[in-house]
């Protein structure tokens, strides 16, 4: 119980730290924020810009707790409604690509971990390295060139109305693929999983289990669950960062695209809101990871 309380406490504390960091960086900006955007005094007041810095922070953070991130400095829209509108497709994209990565990486990683010196294992390493060194946007171009060149067809408009299979698949499939492969996610997963499999395979208890003739996959499975979840969590940040590029290439309207646009227009309240939401998402995953570790690993319970 103490352990769990500690983990949750750390979660809250780190969120506070992160929010402070974001706020601090944004307010390092030289010059008056209200002047940069020619804000009317009423808007500036609405964004607490007329208060002292520290009060501003607490008012902003208090607002964030109630999902009120302020209003956009460019067009006055509510940031929370912007995020609410752009988030669902982004989540679908992110988790779709996560799922695809795991689907590909687990078999490859396990194989490479079990047979690191076999020709196929070596080929996997090589392929993984080469793939991780292609930046997302370059891969995006390659994919687009292939799709345009071969099919001369690509759906760019987001599907509207009720769910239909093909429009959704064609709209999401390319970004998901590019994000999974080009962002190094698959490569990172394969490398990590194979290393972990190699470790477990060399562990004494696997040798003992082999000597007993027991079914090894059970022991492998229990030992692999935590590391795999762990690598997913540590890769969440990379995944969400990659969204910015993928959404820009495919003109995909999601949080990444929104943050790109907000940066171009220096829309401070929007970028602060998005960053905080992303940090929260990552933190939640980290929290889940820690709790899972306590639940699954008896050594962590003390």
């Amino acid at each position: 119980m103490r352990t769990i309380a500690k983990i949750v406490g750390f979660f809250a504390g780190s969120l506070l730290l992160v929010s402070f960091l974001i706020f601090g960086i944004i307010h390092l900006t030289p010059g008056d924020i209200a002047e940069i955007h020619n804000l009317s005094p009423s808007t500036a007041h609405q964004l607490y810009l007329d208060r002292p810095m520290i009060v501003q922070y607490f008012l902003w953070f208090k607002g964030c707790l109630t999902l009120d991130f302020g209003i956009s400095m460019v067009n006055g829209a509510k940031v929370s409604s912007l995020i609410g509108e752009y988030m669902p497709p982004t989540l679908l994209l992110a988790f779709g690509s996560l799922f695809l990565s795991l689907l590909v990486a687990i078999p490859l990683g396990v194989y490479r971990g079990l047979r690191p010196v076999s020709p196929l294992g070596k080929f996997i390493s090589l392929a993984v390295y080469t793939l991780s060194s292609i930046p997302v946007f370059v891969l995006g171009y390659i994919v687009l060139a292939v799709v345009f060149g071969v099919f001369r067809f690509y759906v760019t408009a987001p599907p509207e109305g009720p769910f239909q299979f093909w429009p959704y698949v064609s709209y999401y499939s390319l970004p998901i693929f590019v994000l999974a492969v080009g962002n190094g996610t698959i490569g990172e997963f394969v490398r990590f999983i194979s290393l972990e499999v190699q470790n477990v395979n060399g562990a004494m208890f696997i040798k003992a289990a082999r000597a007993r003739g027991s079914r090894l996959w059970r022991h492998f499975f229990r030992s692999m669950v935590l590391p795999i979840f762990n690598i997913i969590v540590t890769n969440m940040a990379v995944l969400l960062g990659g969204l910015v590029v993928v959404e820009r290439i495919f003109n995909f309207h999601g949080l990444g695209w929104l943050s790109w646009e907000a940066t171009l227009k220096r829309d401070f309240s929007v970028i602060m809101g998005i960053t905080l939401v992303m940090a929260f998402l990552i933190r939640v995953f980290m929290l889940a990871n820690d709790l899972l570790a306590v639940w699954l690993d008896p050594r962590m319970r003390e």
Binding site: R115, S118, G202, A203, M204, F205, K207, A208, A209, R210, A211, R212, G213, S214, R218, H219, R222, S223, L296, D297, P298, R299, E302
Partner: protein, 741 residues
């Protein structure tokens, strides 16, 4: 009688001419070299040799459990007439003549297997054998259990695989409950009295000794025919080891189990095995009944092994650093006879030919049971046990090198410095030292009011099991760890109260030897630069002076000056430990804390290091605090010995005091009795002690849960007060309410 040393029909496991090579692509390393081995039913066979002798590779390779799967095989291995190796003829892709690899023209059919097909075939062959006919336990019992599974889940898994062997019991109850009952029964069988509680615990919550018993009871789930124990007690405390060895004997008698016990420790092998195979460089060099082999070894290697076991601290020839096998006898570089008494013509044989097994025919009558100590008749009651054993050794001139004494570490002919205590001056005095460790909410005293004094030019031995606080004491004296009270006087000044600059001076005079040289020698630095570093703090020292003193230190520890330019990874473990001694000696210290300096070394190398330490004491007048878990080892070097248990000093006396019948504290007696030996009287003493795990008890005497006196008397005073350390007999301080005799 066959010359190759077979024991005839009825053998459970017979290995003939087994060779195992590692590597691939024409680049091979022979790890096992024409080894033949037989195990009878209900027999305990010992496999002994130094590390790297191929004893583990032989057993584990056979079971397909070695890392870096072997690339080349020859020979055969039969368990109950059924082969353990895949049919090599069917897998042959290329025949290789072993002769080309430095063999004596004994060409065999070998298989160079494309790695995976052979491995697969081998695994298939072993599928019904591993964990069914042959069970295995390993050196690191805690690591051998899956950290995510409870003891109970482990047992259930093993039982479920072997349901057919518990048929009647399952019919009676059925389901998990019945299995649990069987499992608990098996755990109790191996001496885990508290099996019900143990059932739900995870491996990290139990001790190493318990984990090893769990491993054994999992092995018993299958009712196997053969148990292979690979260094089963090496990582355990000596008292736990004694109980474990007893368990092996019980298992053999009760379940008719055959056991192969692999160890580098002659004491362990000698205590329980009836026959012995001695391995050296992948070959079996000598075999026979254990009393014969260890009583009058024929092979010089066996003789030297025994020597290093029984005569710790004697000056032994240092083996050449780069031994070369060649075509002759692989051992000749280290062979005392070859280097000494043999004539040139006789030596030619050693250089030209590999020795073949020379039988020393031993009649069954020679294995007279009467010759064995009463109560230790090994092959007595078990039907089908191997009655006749054949002694042979692979040596051209067997029996030339005699071991110096019987294989018990009871003969110490170390000439200690004059024992007279007249006006002896103490170099270090420890007074009322306390140290508290806390883990989360729990905290305990790792050092509880420790007071002791170390006389100048003498050795103070500190003995205790793991967790007794002996290393903590060593680190505190080195001021490498803060303490919570007490004082440590070095030549009258309190180490704990010195300022930085004085400490720098003191650090030159007080040095330390550690257990693992790997942690001491920076792998990125040459030995020379590591040694020179010690002189850095002496201010400006001329370059020529540094070179001179480094060379001097290397010479003191008998390292070749050329070793100075090497990196630690290019030294053998013994050389590394000698380098760490040189590193300490270079600052010309007066006092050395030796924290288990030989625990990680092979027996022969242990005695080299010990003899070096003794020599320095004699010539340089060094004083030592010698910390070890091995009382027998400490007795060799020490003048005074202190025994620690759970942070308390429980007994302290001169070395002569420490005999099984002389000591006054029950724990010390337990320690002494646990040292492997053949004396039946000691067995009796040992059996008075309960088979329980050491735990930290709150209040009262910490030893009472394992103390036969408390258990028989049930005295209240043991529960309420810790006995003070009082002088019970002249020169002996004991902390016990009811000291022995």
């Amino acid at each position: 009688m066959k010359a190759d040393g077979t024991v005839g029909g009825g053998a459970l496991l017979s290995i003939r001419d087994l060779c195992i090579w590692f590597g691939g692509g024409g680049n091979y390393l022979k790890a096992v070299n024409h080894a033949s081995l037989e195990v009878g039913r209900g027999e305990i066979v010992g496999l002994i040799g130094q590390s790297g002798s191929g004893k583990t590779t032989l057993a584990m390779g056979l079971l397909g459990l070695v890392k870096g799967y072997p690339g080349l095989w020859s020979g055969e291995a039969l368990l109950d007439g059924k082969s353990l190796l895949p049919d090599m003829a069917r897998l042959i892709t290329r025949k290789e003549i072993a002769a080309g690899k430095g063999d004596q023209g004994r060409s065999g059919e070998t298989v160079e297997k494309k790695y995976i097909p052979f491995q697969r075939a081998h695994r298939r062959q072993l599928r019904g054998v591993l964990g069914r006919e042959i069970a295995t336990i390993f050196q690191e019992p805690k690591a051998s259990l899956d950290p995510f599974y409870t003891v109970g889940e482990h047992m259930l898994e093993a039982l479920e695989r072997n349901l057919d062997r518990h048929g009647d019991a399952v019919k009676a109850g059925g389901g998990k409950k019945a299995l649990k009952a069987i499992g608990v029964g098996l755990l109790k069988d191996v001496g885990l009295v508290d099996a019900e509680n143990l059932w739900g615990l995870h491996p990290h919550e139990i001790s190493g000794g318990m984990a090893q018993r769990v491993m054994i009871s999992m092995a018993l789930c299958a009712k196997p025919k053969l148990l292979i124990a690979d260094e089963p007690s090496t990582s355990l405390d000596v008292t736990t080891q004694a109980k474990l060895l007893q368990l092996f004997l019980t298992l053999r008698d009760k379940h008719g189990l055959s056991i192969i016990i692999i160890s580098h420790d002659i004491g362990v092998i000698q205590e329980i095995s009836s026959r012995i195979y001695v391995m050296h460089r992948g070959a079996v060099v000598e075999t026979g009944a254990s009393s014969t082999v260890l009583g009058s070894p024929k092979h010089p290697y066996t003789a030297s092994l025994l020597d290093s076991f029984s005569r710790f601290g004697e000056k032994l020839p240092m083996p050449p650093s780069n031994p070369d096998g060649g075509k002759g006898c692989a051992y000749r570089d280290m062979c005392a006879a070859y280097r000494g008494s043999l004539t040139a013509e006789e030596r030619a044989a050693c250089e030209d030919r590999k020795p073949i097994g020379q039988a020393d025919a031993l009649r069954a009558a020679d294995l007279d049971r009467a010759a064995l100590p009463a109560g230790r008749q090994r092959d007595a009651a078990v039907p089908g046990a191997v009655k006749a054993a054949i002694n042979w050794s692979k040596c051209h001139y067997p029996g030339l090198s005699k071991a110096h004494g019987p294989g018990t570490p009871s003969t110490y002919n170390l000439d200690k410095l004059s024992a007279e205590a007249g006006g002896e001056e103490n170099i270090v005095e420890v007074r009322g030292l306390r140290k508290r460790f806390s883990q989360g909410t729990r905290s305990f005293l790792a050092l509880n009011d420790i007071s002791l004094s170390i006389p100048k030019g003498k050795t103070y031995g500190l003995v205790g099991e793991s967790g007794s606080g002996k290393s903590t004491l060593g680190l505190s004296i080195m001021a490498l760890q803060g303490v919570d009270g007490g004082e440590i006087l070095y030549k009258g000044e309190d180490i704990l109260k010195q300022n930085r600059s004085r400490m720098l001076v003191l650090r030159k005079e007080i040095r330390m030897l550690f257990q693992h040289p790997e942690g001491v020698l920076n792998s990125g630095m040459t030995i020379d630069s590591i040694l020179a570093e010690g002189l850095e703090r002496e201010g400006r020292v001329a370059k020529s002076e540094i070179v001179r003193r480094v060379a001097e230190a290397l010479e003191q520890v008998r390292l070749d000056p050329s070793h100075g330019a090497r990196y630690p990874s290019n030294l053998s473990s013994g050389e590394k430990q000698r380098a760490t001694i040189a590193r300490a000696l270079i600052t010309k210290p007066a006092f050395l804390v030796c924290d288990e300096p030989v625990a990680s070394l092979d027996l022969a190398i242990q005695s080299q290091v010990m003899s070096l330490l003794k020599e320095f004491q004699r010539h340089l007048g060094l004083s030592y605090l010698f910390i070890s878990h091995n009382l027998a080892l400490v007795k060799i070097l020490a003048d005074r010995i202190g025994v620690m248990y759970m942070g308390y000093l429980v007994e302290e006396a001169r070395v002569e005091h420490f005999t099984v019948h002389g000591v006054r504290h029950p724990y010390t007696r337990l320690l002494l009795a646990s040292t492997p030996s053949l004396d039946p009287g000691i067995r009796e003493i040992l059996s008075a002690y309960p088979d329980v795990e050491p735990v930290r008890l709150e209040g009262g005497c910490p030893f009472r849960n394992r103390c036969p006196i408390y258990l028989s008397k049930g005295s209240k005073v043991c529960e309420s007060t810790m006995p003070p350390l009082l002088e019970q007999s002249p020169g002996a301080r004991v902390a016990c309410h009811y000291p022995l005799n």
